[in-house]
């Protein structure tokens, strides 16, 4: 290697540690906002990298590797960590040094992993993190003694308060040489022996006043109480959903108004024609219909991140495990499914916390059955048109029907999970074994960075696949244009209309008329678009959920009641939007599962709508 190449070499440093060691907080504290979040090729494991300036002026690449308990992986995340350490990932430079992040309140178990990393021979610096919480729990660790016993530099840090970062930089600078170290070679390690060694070292360096975990145990006395625990969980979830729907209302209105203003402005500036229609009716209408959910998704993510970082998420999984186990899932599936009530996209993204691949896949496949908020406008219009606004006992009939639709989705999801776990995703799930970390206040910086990462991921998707698919759907609905003397709605002359006509025989047996089939095609872009598509088909201009009165009257005249009920049943199961299929493609890294998801939900919707239609006809409705 010649001198200039040596000077330009950027050392690579990885953060490695057990889950809950505060690794990501340390990464955020070290790199601030200068971080790039991406994916490792072929897997849905997040790759987080940033720049770290060492005190001697050198700059290195800092990588936040997924948390793992050992070098023997049990999930795709853990495999990435192992492969990165051994320099086996294509396109990734081998490591120059490792920062082993360990939780001072859980020294024993985390130290065992450090002892497993040490024989690899890579320069290794130990970040003894969360020493403040250890002190709070009455634990004092002699860091100098620890360093002497394990023969590695040990730096005390408090990542969330940016304490110890300079010392960590100095220790790294001293450890990183000018030439890269030799690649480590995997060696079998005796876990039990390391565990014992860790316990002995721990006993020598740690003094505890016995108050350990006092705070967490006090909170758990309520949070995991057989009666108070579920009530608290229900209260938190109720608050979360209130927030998602009510706090998001105003910003959603602004986004809608902004898009409408932009459309009106463009209509003034551009000549009436294909270009204007493409931008206004295709791009802005389609992408706008998805971006309008950004406020809800951000609020939902803020809650999820706070619940994750505080340590409560594992408590929710603990409380719900028993119920989830009955359909072959585990407690960790609960929050992703719950999130799917707002939108399946964040729900499916949240399944990354499920460590069993089969459980995760099952959860992804049933997530679209949770009634997402995009289905509400559809339900609202059809219920408004066909379900009489009278009371049944103390309840309104319309509300009861809406509740029944939500319930049908949940029951459908349970049945689907039960069936999938015995067929498509068959196989023993790894047993439910979950560390329940101590409670912590979510750090503002970590929340902000996490939220920023997820928001950009969502917008990137809206900007690419959803944009492309809305343009295609717009094209299908706009071409060919109606003849000059055409007196039927324009959509009937278009390709979407032709597709609808071709599909009509398939849907006729379940009571769907031609107009419904027309609306189902653009409804693939986003479910609520089906409402405006129905408006278009029934030759109404500018129908959306706020101006739906005209449409309600039209539908009431045009559809028999069994058709309306079948349409509702259809929407409980099927037309999952293109965005959901796209995110499923991304999260499962293959087209197989989105195609399977589409097929099984289509079949379920078809059967449900058909049954509803024929039962309603038989009942003389």
């Amino acid at each position: 290697m010649n001198a200039p190449a040596m000077l330009s070499r950027t050392p690579v440093v990885a953060l490695v540690g057990n889950p809950n060691a505060g690794k990501t907080s340390l990464f955020n504290a070290l790199t601030g906002s200068r971080q790039k979040v991406g994916n490792y090729p072929g897997v849905t494991v997040e790759r987080k990298a940033g720049r770290l300036a060492l005190p001697d002026g050198r700059v290195c690449d800092l990588i936040d590797l997924p948390g793992t308990y050992s070098l023997t992986p049990r999930s795709p995340d853990e495999a990435v960590t192992r492969d990165a350490i051994f320099g086996r990932i294509a396109g990734e430079k081998p490591l120059d040094a490792i920062v082993a992040v360990i939780d001072a309140t859980n020294l024993r178990n985390h130290l065992r992993f450090v002892l497993e990393l040490k024989p690899l021979g890579l320069p290794l610096v130990v970040a003894l993190n969360m020493v403040d919480l250890a002190a709070r729990d009455g634990i004092v660790i002699d860091a100098a003694r620890l360093s002497a016993l394990i023969g590695l530099p040990v730096v005390e840090t408090v990542a969330v308060r940016k304490r110890g970062l300079d010392a960590l930089g100095r220790a790294l600078a001293a450890d990183i040489g000018d030439t890269p170290p030799a690649l480590p070679i995997a060696a079998a390690s005796d876990l039990k022996a390391l565990q014992k060694q860790a316990r002995q070292i721990c006993a020598a360096v740690e003094t505890s006043t016995g108050a350990a975990r006092r705070w967490s145990q006090r909170i758990d006395a309520v949070a995991l109480h057989p009666v108070a625990g579920p009530l608290l969980l229900a209260a938190i979830l109720f608050f979360m959903f209130q927030a998602v729907f009510s706090w998001a209302e105003a910003p959603m209105g602004w986004i809608e108004a902004g898009i409408a203003a932009l459309q009106a402005d463009l209509a003034q500036r551009l000549p009436d024609g294909v270009l204007l229609s493409l931008i206004n009716d295709g791009v802005l209408a389609g992408v706008g219909a998805v971006v309008v959910f950004l406020p809800q998704i951000l609020i939902l993510f803020a809650f999820i991140i706070a619940l994750e970082q505080s340590g409560y998420m594992t408590r929710a999984a603990f409380l719900m495990d028993r119920l989830m186990a009955r359909v072959g899932l585990n407690g960790r599936a609960f929050i992703p499914l719950l999130s799917s009530f707002a939108c399946a996209i964040p729900g499916i993204m949240a399944t990354r916390t499920i460590d069993s691949p089969r459980d995760r896949l099952t959860t992804i496949l049933i997530a679209p059955l949770m009634t997402c908020s995009a289905r509400l406008p559809v339900y609202a219009v059809v219920i408004g048109a066909f379900i009489p606004a009278r009371d049944v006992g103390p309840f309104g009939l319309q509300g009861l029907v809406l509740f029944a639709l939500y319930l049908a989705g949940i029951l459908g999801a349970l049945v689907a999970a039960f069936a999938l776990r015995r067929t498509v995703t068959k196989g023993a799930a790894p047993p439910f074994l979950m560390e329940m970390p101590k409670y912590q206040w979510p750090a503002g910086r970590d929340m902000a960075l996490g939220l920023y990462g997820r928001a950009t991921a969502f917008l990137q998707r809206a900007g690419t696949i959803i944009l492309a698919s809305t343009i295609v759907l717009w094209g299908l609905a706009s071409w060919p244009q109606p003849p000059a003397d055409g007196n039927r709605p324009a959509i009937e002359y278009s390709l979407a209309g032709k597709i609808g006509e071709a599909l009509e025989p398939i849907f006729a047996p379940i009571g769907f008329n031609k107009e419904i089939v027309f609306a189902l095609v653009p409804g693939m872009a986003a479910r609520e678009v089906a409402v405006s598509a129905l408006g278009t088909v029934y030759a109404l201009q500018g129908v959306d959920e706020e101006h739906a009165d005209g449409l309600i009257a039209q539908l009431r005249a045009a559809w028999p009641l069994p058709t309306a009920l079948a349409f509702l049943a259809w929407f409980v199961f099927a037309p999952q939007c293109i965005s959901t299929l796209a995110i499923t493609r991304r999260e499962t890294a293959s087209w197989r599962w989105p195609i399977f998801m589409f097929s099984y939900l289509f079949a379920a919707a078809y059967v449900a709508a058909g049954l509803t239609y024929h039962l309603a006809v038989a009942a003389g409705l």
Binding site: Y69, S70, T72, R74, T105, N106, R108, N109, R112, L191, K192, Q195, K196, R199, S208, A212, R213, S216, Q217, D220, L224, H225, P226, V227, G229, P230, T314, A317, F318, L319, D321, R322, L323, A325, G331, A428, P430, P431, F432, L433, M434, E435, M436, P437
Partner: protein, 84 residues
């Protein structure tokens, strides 16, 4: 491995009772699961205590093992014997 007539497992611990792990029936576990148990700190001679039992039937349980809290289902806890 010593096995008295009726080995006492974690499941039999009373509330607030602290015991030491006497034996783990690793033969009854998949190798990965046995290893994960070890990684989470379950090992002969380590102190355990049941902190919480989940609602709806007392399964899973939250166990303190060393100074870590781990949730596990009772069928797995039944493979971990304790000495009083």
């Amino acid at each position: 491995m010593s096995s008295p007539a009726t080995p006492r497992t974690i499941n039999a611990l009373a509330a607030g009772e602290v015991a030491l792990i006497a034996a783990i029936d690793r033969a009854g576990l998949a190798p990965e699961t046995a290893q994960r148990l070890c990684e989470l700190g379950f090992d002969e001679g380590v102190d355990v205590e049941i902190l919480h039992r989940a609602p709806f039937g007392g399964d899973p349980i939250a166990v303190r093992v060393g100074n870590m809290v781990v949730a596990l289902r009772r069928d797995m806890a039944a493979l971990i014997e304790v000495a009083a």
